[in-house]
Symmetry: C2
Subunit: 116 residues, 2 copies
Amino acid sequence: MSQPSFACCTPLTGTSMTPEQAEQVVPLLKALADPVRLRLVSLIASSPTGEACVCDLNEAFDQTQATISHHLKVLHSAGVLDRDKRGVWVYYAVKPEALSSVANLFSIAALAGVSA
Amino acid sequence: MSQPSFACCTPLTGTSMTPEQAEQVVPLLKALADPVRLRLVSLIASSPTGEACVCDLNEAFDQTQATISHHLKVLHSAGVLDRDKRGVWVYYAVKPEALSSVANLFSIAALAGVSA
DNA sequence: CGTTTACATCGACGTCCGTCGATGTCTGAC
DNA sequence: GTCAGACATCGACGGACGTCGATGTAAACG
């Protein structure tokens, strides 16, 4: 060890996320980390009724109906959107808890160890 | 058109994210949507000094030094981490603005149209 | 000088992911 | 029952991503 004798390192003793905690949150982040899905969530959230039917969403994007349906499924599976079929149409609504949990996660205090 | 005559659709007139806005935020979300990178940010943020050198971070993970270095680069490129080389060691520190911008993005009001 | 240590970069590999066309399923109208 | 429309699912393709071993670079010590 020819390196300086004083430590390069701070102990990192502060409590941080466990691998398990990280694995639990990441799917939610992954679901939101796509431009089309982020716009989908934004569109639905900005709708006056708080929900939107797929027929609307399809027209707002250049992507195929299959692609939009796929993205909606991803967001639904991740717990970001609620799904409600009424007759022929399917309405998706944003689950505020999902979004606020992400917001809480990235408040500095939360990241520094306070559990989300 | 054999469907009901009343509209299935709410106009979605509320202002939502533009494609450009989405494309701008997504890299930041992508950078955080990985379990290793999320733990890296958490470790650095929970350090008492607010920063950590790579030698510490390497020991905290099962991944190779090359992999950790890669993840740190991704986080740095996305604006999540600051990089400071002091002698032989490199110290990374969390940029609070980056994290709080994500937190702001996912407050309900922000997503509904109020710019972040 | 040469050696060692800390970290970055490179190239390659396997896997995951976004997108598409095609097809399936269900619902309501006629 | 038949048909059309709304949405989901399937299978395939191409590109992006995480990981690794090997190598490069730079700083400090002798």
